[in-house]
Each structure stands twice: as C-alpha cells, then as structure tokens.
Symmetry: C2
Subunit: 203 residues, 2 copies
DNA sequence: TATAAAACTGAATAGTTAGTCATAAGGTAC
DNA sequence: GTACCTTATGACTAACTATTCAGTTTTATA
C-alpha cells in the first residue's frame, strides 16, 4: 500500500516517521513545553530548519504524533472482533490495551501529561479533532459495555461508568508499570486486570 | 494554633497561602513550564519580585504547593479511622478521596500532568521527598487492602494490585468529571465506585 | 513622630527558544 | 553533463521569561 509512490515520496514519508518517532521520545520525557525543537531535530538527525519542511510548527509535530497514535489505537480496537461474545470481547480489549501501552509507553506518557490541555474552548482545528477522537474512543468502549449488559453478562450499570472504571484500571496499571521501570511485562497483567474488573475485590 | 505569631508573621503566612493558591490555578491550567511567574504574581496581586521573598524560585513554588497537598491528603487518610472494620474503612477511603479531589481539582490536574517528571534519577531534594511521599501514600492504601484480605473481606490478591486498581478507578472518575465540566457532584459517585471496585462488573 | 527594619516594586539582565531565510547540497530528467 | 527543482543547513531574529536588585513604600517600635 505504500507502493505507487516515487522514490522521493517514500523518503519523505520515512523521514516524517523518523521525526515523529524522535519527537515522541522527547515529548514523553519532557512534556510539550519543555521539549525543544532543537532537541527533536538532533535526535532525528536533521537540522532544525528541515523539520519545518515536514511540519508547520512545533504544535503540528505534536498533534500529528498524537493523532496518528489515537488512530492506531482505535484501529486496534476495531480489529478485535465485534462478532465475538461481548464478554470475550472485553477480555481481548483488556489484553489489547495493555499490549498497546506496552508497545507505546511514550504515547501513554504524553496523553496522560497533556490531556488536561485538550479541554474544550480551544480554537485549534487539530486539537478539536483530537478531542473528538478521544470521546469517540470512550464511546467505543461504552458500546461494548452496553452490548455485554444487554446480553446479561454485565451488571446493569451505566455503560459510561463501566467504561470509565475499566479504562481507569488499565491506565493505573500502566502508569505504575512505567513508574517502576517497565521491566516486567505489562501484558501479563491481563488476567489480574480482567479478574479485578469483572469479579471485583470482595472475597 | 496559628497563635503566638506576630501580626507580621501572620500576614506573611497568609500571603504565602495566597501565592500558592494563585499558583495552583495557573499550574493546573497551563502546566509547570507554560505557567509564568508573571502570571502567578498578577493573579496573587503581588509584584513578581515579591514572590521571590517568599520562595526561592518557580520550582520552589511548585514543589511547596504539591508537598502541602500531598500531606493534606495523607492526613485525610489517617483521619478516617483505622480502628474500623477494614471494609468500612475502604468505603470511607473512596468517599474521602472523591471529596478531596472534588475540593482540590487543580491539585489533581497538576499531579496527573506532572507525575511523569517526578521519576527517579532527580537530584532535587524536594522532588525526591515528593516521590517518597507518593510511594508512602500507595503503601497506605496497600496496607488497608492487606488488612481487609487478612480479615477475609477481600480476595486474596496482591495488595499492591488492589490498591492500584482502586486508585485507578477513582482517578478515572475524577478525570472524566473534570473533563466534562465538573458540574455534578463527584462525591455522589462514591456508591458506584465502591460497587464497581468491590463487586466488579460481571452480572 | 522619627528611625530602622522588612517587604515591595518593576525595570534591567541574561538566557532560552520557536520560527525564518539566504545559501548550499543533493537529486532528477533530458 | 547541465539546468532545474527539491530538500537541508544553521546562523539569525524576535519574542519571551526566570531571576535580580537598586530604589521606594510600609510597618513596627519607642
């Protein structure tokens, strides 16, 4: 699918990816404001000026990056088979989420750090787009919860609350995994997370 | 207890609080780097120079603020009666947490945004202190979980995981509450949160 | 009220950084 | 090989911001 591109176009695309990848690391480590364009350029092995032929400005780098990842995550969700029994779907969702964050921990750090700044009221088109996708993402999980409730698999609670709780547990495990040095495997937490979410803590 | 302070000392203390309160709003809104000392000074109705008679520098303002709040939160935890049955304790912990975040949403925003930057390796004394207190905070919740397990009230899972899950659910509800405009009461979520944590989602 | 100490002010300083642009290098097509 | 076009470079600019400090105002005391 990356075919019927000229050599030049392919190089351009690869360079773009390299810049985004460098930016991901820097933004994760320092946050949007403390990260400098110079540093991103250096890590990507380009001059600063070159970055501006790929992206309009620093914010454009940032938002392109996050947008790409949000889409990848959403794609992943769709790929986990809505045809399955809702319950099985939820188990897979948990595993897929943990896998995604394990493979994209910089992204996780970026969104947890910067989500506050995506709040309503912003004029920027990309930011609005991003907010829209965050919301649509939550809605997807909610939809899954609703299906499971209708099937009688889950308690009849507001799907929104179920989704918030599940995402919260996943995020919390991910954050702690990162904080403690990301040494073990995050995916291995799937069973505990699933058990805690479905069965609860009570004996 | 604020007695046997001279008038001057009392004013000084009040001013310090005012500056921290202004800083809290600005830091929550913009994050540490994007917040400017000018803006904090203006909101606190002081000149920029005056801030430097109260605090060593911008970071000192920030860390003093967070340290104060961490301590308040810890204090709150201790105040909820360790003598009670563990189960009752957990219920109160959930309510107390939600209440605290409802009353300190700026603090919540600040720590979720900046926690990444508190990671190991920092030389700064205050930062290390802060990290230590975060850890000790998690340990407190873990201790509670352990007590409840020993009593046979909770499943025999790693207390660390139980604590992570509960904190995750609470944080997630808080984040969503803030994201959607903080209009309803967050404390009212206590029952849902408790139910989800203890009973789980499964029907 | 006079005096000294404390606290405040805001302009000046020193440093940083996003973004630009004239110039150079590299690639493409004939 | 040459003329042309695309991309890369990095010094430069303009703007911003943390911190300082000399001079001013306020407060406490006697």
């Amino acid at each position: 699918m990356t075919k019927n591109l000229t050599r030049r176009e392919k190089v351009k695309l690869a360079n773009r990816e390299a810049i985004l990848s460098a930016a991901e690391e820097i933004f994760a480590e320092k946050g949007f404001y403390a990260a400098t364009v110079d540093e991103i350029a250096e890590r990507a092995e380009f001059s600063k000026g070159a970055l501006y032929t790929y992206f309009k400005n620093k914010e454009d780098i940032f938002l392109s990056l996050v947008l790409d990842k949000v889409d990848k995550q959403k794609e992943m969700n769709q790929g986990l088979g809505a045809s399955l029994a809702p319950m099985e779907c939820i188990k897979r969702l948990i595993r897929a989420h943990l896998k995604f964050f394990e493979e994209n921990k910089e992204y996780f750090q970026i969104i947890t750090s910067e989500r506050n700044r995506f709040k309503p009221g912003t004029k920027n088109k990309l930011r609005r787009e991003l907010m829209k996708r965050f919301q649509s993402y939550l809605k997807d999980v909610e939809g899954l919860m609703k299906a499971a409730i209708d099937k009688g698999d889950l308690k009849n609670l507001t799907p929104n609350y179920l989704a918030i709780a599940l995402i919260g547990i996943i995020n919390s495990f991910t954050a702690q995994w990162i904080f403690t040095g990301s040494e073990s495997s995050l995916q291995e937490m799937s069973e505990v997370v699933t058990k805690l979410f479905l069965e609860g803590a009570k004996a």
